[in-house]
């Protein structure tokens, strides 16, 4: 059973059995507009909570996506190199950004669930 958490910076992190998938929320992709490039990290990269892990670039500007927790990148979404618009079309699904291990699952406790996140953007 997976559980999805949300950050105040509009990232989501879906956790299942100690591993996590990270992306940006649908609200975030809407704010950014059409994405034209996603700069992904290398697998194996160690992340600290709050690190700029990915840069998403819209027609107009570049924006950082932050690591929601400590851990190591295990996989990145290679499909985004040829089709960055996947993030616009399916931010919570096929437009995921990277997968990671979690060094400290207790860090997730400070994040929001979907209802709490939705309340912040309402």
């Amino acid at each position: 059973m997976s559980k999805t958490y949300f950050t105040p910076d509009h990232e989501w992190i879906r956790v299942e059995g100690g591993a996590a998938t990270v992306g940006i929320t649908d609200y975030a992709q809407e704010q950014l507009g059409d994405l034209v490039f996603v700069e992904l990290p290398q697998a194996g990269k160690a992340l600290k909570k709050g690190d700029a892990a990915v840069v998403v670039e819209s027609v107009k500007a570049a924006s950082d996506v932050y690591a929601p927790a400590d851990g190591e990148v295990t996989e990145v979404n290679e499909a985004l190199s040829s089709d960055p618009a996947l993030v616009n079309n399916a931010a919570m699904g096929d437009g995921w950004l990277w997968k990671m291990t979690l060094s400290d699952e207790s860090q997730l406790e400070g994040l929001m669930d979907e209802a709490a996140y939705k309340a912040t953007i309402a």
Binding site: F37, S58, V59
Partner: protein
């Protein structure tokens, strides 16, 4: 300083615009279609832009032409009635205070269109030069709309405004207190129309009733002008940049460069004699990653040889595009360079401008 609001703000709200601040104005950045579709729509059909943040000045009086010829590298006395000219406001060092469009409307009447962010500065500069001359400079309150794209002429006709007699860079006053020019900043055929605030909503509604027309935000305005190789003052043009470095000498008649008496003319002659140190060029990044304004440009040895002043993605050309200033020795088309982006070196090359061919209606 409080944000300035467009007179048609409610219309943009109703259209679902996302707003942002630009030059002190609350401007529609994108509409629900998004920057990519808005950009492509403009090149294919007709895009409607609210450019009321730009400032129109009526310059009238016996000395109007003389004052404009002093303020700008422009022979305003020789400008024919109904003709528009892209020109500049220079300081004594030939630095570019603003870029403008000046249109002659009659023997002693001109219309000047200035950039939003520079309007106050421009007005003060004009007034200082006009001191002691028989000329009145009036900042006009208008809604200013641009309709750009291949269907623009036909859409306007449907909205009850026949501007088919105009060719690129000519203008007319179709109704009382209206001003209409065949011009724009997208590289497409199109029109810029200033009209009284109280008539604007119904006119915009008539345009939008045509399914070929839709609102286009500032984000697409920027990607369109960058593809068209056009400069944005505050990025590609600035008071520290002269017209030779900016590669816009085409806007200055040759004779005026040699013997003109406009403000900045002496400094410009010195710059022309010595040759500019840096020059504005187009830049095409090799990969998919955009290069943004502010990035340093380096040569193969890693020496800094220039900087990016505008950069983004070109939806029509389908690759990243940029403009910047490079040392003369590196300005030739095809010259390989690198942009420093977040610690990595992205290969790019000097590219000819524009990235998309201009499609103006030239008589």
């Amino acid at each position: 300083m409080s944000e300035k609001h467009l007179p048609l703000e409610a219309m943009h709200e109703e259209a679902g615009a996302r707003f942002g601040t630009f030059a002190g104005w609350r401007m529609p950045l994108t509409y629900p279609a998004g920057v990519m579709k808005e950009h492509l729509h403009t090149r294919k059909k007709a895009g409607l832009f609210d450019i009321s943040h730009m400032q129109l000045f009526a310059v009238e009086g016996r000395d109007a032409a003389a004052v404009l010829s002093r303020a700008c590298p422009l022979d305003a006395t020789a400008l024919e009635s109904g003709k528009s000219k892209y020109t500049l406001l220079l300081n004594e060092q030939a630095g570019i205070i603003d870029d403008l469009i000046v249109t002659r409307l009659g023997p002693n009447r001109f219309m000047v269109v200035a950039n939003a962010g520079n309007a106050k500065k421009d007005e003060a500069h004009f007034r200082a030069i006009a001191e002691g001359f028989d000329v009145k400079i009036e900042a006009l309150d208008r809604v200013f709309l641009a309709l750009q794209g291949p269907a623009a002429e036909s859409v306007l006709l449907g909205a009850g405004l026949d501007l088919s007699d105009l060719t690129f860079m000519t203008a007319t006053e179709p109704r009382e207190n209206w001003f209409a020019a065949r011009s724009g900043y997208t590289g497409e055929d199109g029109f810029e129309i200033a009209l009284p605030v109280e008539e604007a909503r119904s006119f915009a509604e008539k345009i939008l009733a045509d399914e070929r027309a839709m609102w286009i935000g500032l984000a697409a305005r920027d990607s369109l002008r960058l593809e068209a190789g056009l400069c944005l003052h505050g990025q590609d043009l600035a008071e520290s940049i002269d017209p030779a470095s900016a590669a816009i000498l085409w806007a200055l008649p040759k004779k005026l460069r040699e013997d003109g008496g406009f403000v900045g003319s002496e400094a410009l002659r010195r710059i022309l004699a010595a040759g500019p140190e840096q020059i504005r060029v187009g830049l095409k990044p090799e990969g998919r990653q955009p290069v943004r304004a502010g990035a340093s440009l380096t040569n193969e040895k890693g020496e800094v040889v220039g900087r990016v002043t505008s950069g983004g993605f070109g939806p029509s050309v389908e690759h990243p595009i940029a403009m910047g200033f490079v040392a003369k020795a590196f300005s030739e088309t095809g010259t390989p360079l690198f942009a420093e982006v977040r610690g990595s070196r992205l290969p790019l090359s000097v590219h000819s401008l524009p990235f998309t061919p201009h499609r103006y209606r030239k008589g």
